[in-house]
């Protein structure tokens, strides 16, 4: 059955009330029955919840084959916890048929690909999937279909019981002996722990893994002891160098700067650019550099940013400290400047993934966003964006908060170079639709700007400001004229991953890749 972005969704996926994507805000006003966890009572006072090893913690939580373990990705590419836990479960306890439900997975988790090939891990639910894991899933090695969700879609699915977490593992830079966790104060600091919060509230069991035990009480706690069954102290939860980079630097690449300046010009041309406006931007070259140019326009018009959200890094913290932005609320920190600022700098707050982006709750921050600036691997002439699959069709990306912020914001700007190497970024049809075109408003490239025809109001804004723009088809043709028109990818019929829209409907599917053979 074709969905609202024209993707053919196989009927066999539409069981138990699952629907295809119908367009944005389709679920508005519907009711949701939340799924409460079954948790153990700890009535008798206990001095400490520290257990000797991960294996011991797993046993104590009744770990068995077939269970679902959850993880969060604040340690990013420096994370050791996923691999440690899975090794203990599979190699020490001999468990099988396990499902990993993570907020994201990356190259740090390459060893999990082996467990997938051995059939020990049979399910993956995540936002990001990269490296070897993406390759084995794309080759059809995972026994069940992977499920890809956005950062807002994940807490929605957890709260709705669509994914039931048997044991949640919290990678905690600091914890006390009963499991009050914080993202700072230790040796592997990550700052915000926003993605772990819903897991802790909805999992049957919660195990904290830390490499820095601190005195009770570890306050203010990101994950609270009231939800924690056991605490395991290990030598190291991650590689600090890969958890948070030294400081995100603003790009000096002239191409990035030119695009960033255009992003700022577009923003400044809209009626939403007024005192107290809200903003989110990515950490990619041109997205981050947009901060710089935006500040110029803010100074010129003597206005301040009301609040900023997102994954946060140094340049935004700098603006907070200078008083250019009122509040910063973040779900994740990307560099040490941000890590060292959260809950320390006045008006720099932490929030949960649900509070950030969940479309089914009653007050997600994304719904109050004026502007979001996002990157894209590909964008097609329907303004649909792909940030998940590579040009070879293999899973190597993450929807993250992309679909959530695009849907919630008043003005969603995609900024990307027109071509990357020999790949056209602006194309006829994206490989996978991760953000539907009806949520994307403006495209800024190094070869020109295009506005979604669904937004005549924004077209008028750009015209009034004298900002040139062209139909997106023109940008696509320009790209193809330089790098050529690519052949269609070849797929098997088998669906290896289902991409859920943030509301839980099916936005797209990823099929098993057919090895490409060159004709003689």
């Amino acid at each position: 059955m074709k969905n609202a972005v024209g993707r053919d969704i196989p009927d066999f996926l539409l069981e138990n009330g699952k629907e295809v994507y119908q367009g944005k805000n389709y679920m508005d006003g519907k009711y949701l029955q939340k799924a409460a966890p079954k948790t153990r009572r700890y009535e008798k006072p206990q001095e400490s919840k520290i257990v000797e090893s991960l294996a011991e913690a797993l046993k104590q939580c009744g770990a068995k084959s077939g269970m679902t373990f959850s993880f969060h990705h604040h340690l990013r590419d420096g994370d050791f916890v996923v691999n440690m836990v899975m090794k203990a479960a599979i190699e020490e306890l001999g468990l099988e048929d396990l499902t990993i439900a993570a907020s994201s997975l990356g190259a740090a988790h390459d060893p999990i690909a082996d467990y997938i090939e051995q059939g020990k891990v049979i399910g993956i639910q995540t936002s990001g999937i990269r490296g070897r894991m993406g390759e084995v899933v794309s080759k059809g090695k995972l026994r069940t279909r992977a499920i890809i969700r956005s950062h807002g879609g994940r807490p929605r699915a957890i709260e709705a019981g669509e994914v039931h977490i048997d044991i949640a593992f919290i990678a905690a830079p600091t914890s006390d002996c009963v499991g009050n966790c914080r993202g700072i104060g230790g040796k592997s600091n990550c700052g915000s722990m926003g993605y772990a919060m819903t897991d802790a509230k909805y999992a049957d069991h919660v195990v904290v893994v830390t490499d820095c035990l601190v005195d009770f009480p570890n306050m203010p706690a990101s994950v609270e002891a009231i939800d924690v069954d056991a605490v395991v102290v290990v030598d190291s939860i991650g590689n600090p160098k890969k958890i948070a980079s030294a400081a995100a630097r603003i790009s000096q690449n002239p191409r990035d700067l030119m695009m960033a300046e255009d992003v700022a010009r577009v923003i400044a041309s809209t009626p939403y650019f007024k005192d107290g406006f809200s903003f989110q931007t990515g950490v990619g070259g041109p997205s981050l550099a947009a901060n710089l140019f935006l500040e110029k326009y803010m100074d010129e018009r003597n206005i301040k940013m009301g609040w900023a959200i997102g994954g946060i890094c140094g340049p935004m913290v700098e603006m907070l400290k200078k008083g250019k932005v009122g509040k910063v609320i973040d779900v994740q920190d990307f560099d040490l400047d941000a890590v060292n600022s959260i809950n320390q700098t006045p008006n720099h707050f932490e929030m949960s993934a649900s509070q950030y982006a969940n479309p089914a709750n009653k007050g997600a921050f994304v719904n109050k966003l004026d502007f979001v600036v996002l990157a894209a691997l590909e964008i097609d002439t329907g303004f649909n964006v792909n940030v998940l699959t590579g040009s070879d069709g293999i899973l190597r990306g993450a929807p993250g908060g992309h679909p959530d912020t695009a849907a919630g914001s008043k003005c969603c700007i995609i900024v990307t170079p027109l071509i990357r190497g020999r790949m056209a970024t602006v194309c006829e049809h994206v490989v996978t639709v991760t953000t539907p075109g009806d949520c994307v408003d403006v495209l800024v490239t190094d070869y020109g700007i295009a506005v979604n025809p669904l937004r005549p109001d924004l077209i008028e804004c750009l015209d009034n400001a004298g900002i040139k723009h062209v139909p997106i088809e023109e940008l696509k043709e320009k790209a193809y004229s330089m790098v050529g028109r690519p052949d269609d990818l070849q797929w098997e019929d088998e669906v290896v991953a289902v991409l859920e829209a943030r509301d839980g409907t099916i936005l797209d599917v990823i099929r098993k890749i057919k090895p490409y053979t060159l004709e003689d």
Binding site: P254, R255, L257, M258, E261, D446, Y447, G466, M482
Partner: protein, 304 residues
């Protein structure tokens, strides 16, 4: 092959951005930044043993990339090197709009290059006279001979001073107020105006010193330069901003041109606009202001 229109000897040249002709990543789409001219460099940016590679890269860029209405000029190696003749053949064969003669010191240098350009036009079947020339003055002798250089050929579009080499000869360093080169800049400007060609200032190389850059651009504009050589795309926008006419200037120019057309049709040669005396001498300046305003996207009329 990308057909390029016949180059215009006099056109808007506020910004000329230098790029190493050997770097495909740079030259493949240098036009996106919006400079008026790009200056593909075969000279100093290219190592001595890479001159051939750079020429190949340049030739194929000229043949396959559509630079649109961005002018494409090539800086060739000096006449004291073994490279310049082959450089000229490549420029002409590829269809470059113009050639910048490095270290030009005399009218004879221009004539020597012109002769070889003509030979190459003949050799490659390129329209005779198509390829424009400009001269870089890099020495005291070049500055002293500025007028004869500017007036040496119908192909000459203008002259530029090259600060690095000139300061070396003069044993000076860049100064904040530009005193180190003010005489040379002035002499070159006078010569260029006398010969009726354009005049461009040198590059500003300290990218971290935006304040110094802006001061120099303002001085360039005040002295009467047509444009400036640049080394980084991020310098373009400021130059265009400074060289753009003000709203007041545009309105005034429009009034002058309009009034002149009406009055001259009625047989009147001298008249007043807003209390100022206007005659034919004011017209080229006013027309230039309007053309500049249009190029800057500030004016959409059809008077010029």
């Amino acid at each position: 092959m990308i057909p390029r229109p016949r180059p215009e000897r006099f056109r808007l040249r506020r910004t000329m951005m230098f790029m190493n002709a050997q770097k495909p990543g740079l030259i493949k789409d240098a036009y996106i930044y919006g400079c008026d001219s790009i200056m593909l460099d075969l000279e100093d940016a290219v190592a001595e043993n890479q001159k051939d590679a750079a020429r190949f890269s340049l030739y194929h860029a000229l043949k396959t990339i559509d630079y649109g209405d961005t002018e494409v000029i090539v800086r060739i190696n000096g006449l004291d090197t073994p490279h310049w003749q082959e450089d000229i053949r490549v420029c002409v064969a590829g269809g470059a709009d113009g050639i910048r003669i490095a270290k030009c010191e005399s009218a004879q240098d221009v004539l020597t290059v012109e002769k070889h350009v003509e030979m190459a036009e003949e050799e490659f079947g390129v329209e005779k006279g198509r390829t424009l020339l400009m001269a870089a003055l890099e020495s005291p002798k070049g500055i002293l001979n500025a007028y004869e250089i500017c007036a040496a050929s119908e192909r000459m579009l203008g002259v530029a001073i090259s600060g690095g080499d000139f300061r070396k000869c003069m044993q000076t360093k860049p100064t904040r107020d530009g005193i180190d080169m003010v005489t040379a800049r002035g002499m070159m400007l006078i010569a260029a105006r006398a010969a009726g060609v354009q005049c461009f200032d040198t590059v500003f190389t300290n990218l971290d010193d935006q304040e110094g850059f802006e001061a120099e651009v303002l001085q360039n504009k005040a002295m009467g330069f047509d444009g400036k050589s640049l080394i980084n795309p991020k310098q373009i926008r400021y130059v265009h901003q400074v060289f753009a006419p003000t709203e007041k200037e545009i309105i005034q120019a429009e009034k002058i041109v309009r009034a002149y057309r009406e009055q001259s049709a009625a047989g009147v040669g001298v008249f007043t606009v807003d209390g100022k005396m206007i005659d034919i001498a004011f017209i080229p300046g006013a027309e230039r202001t309007l053309k500049l305003a249009r190029a800057c996207g500030l004016w959409e009329g059809d008077l010029v």
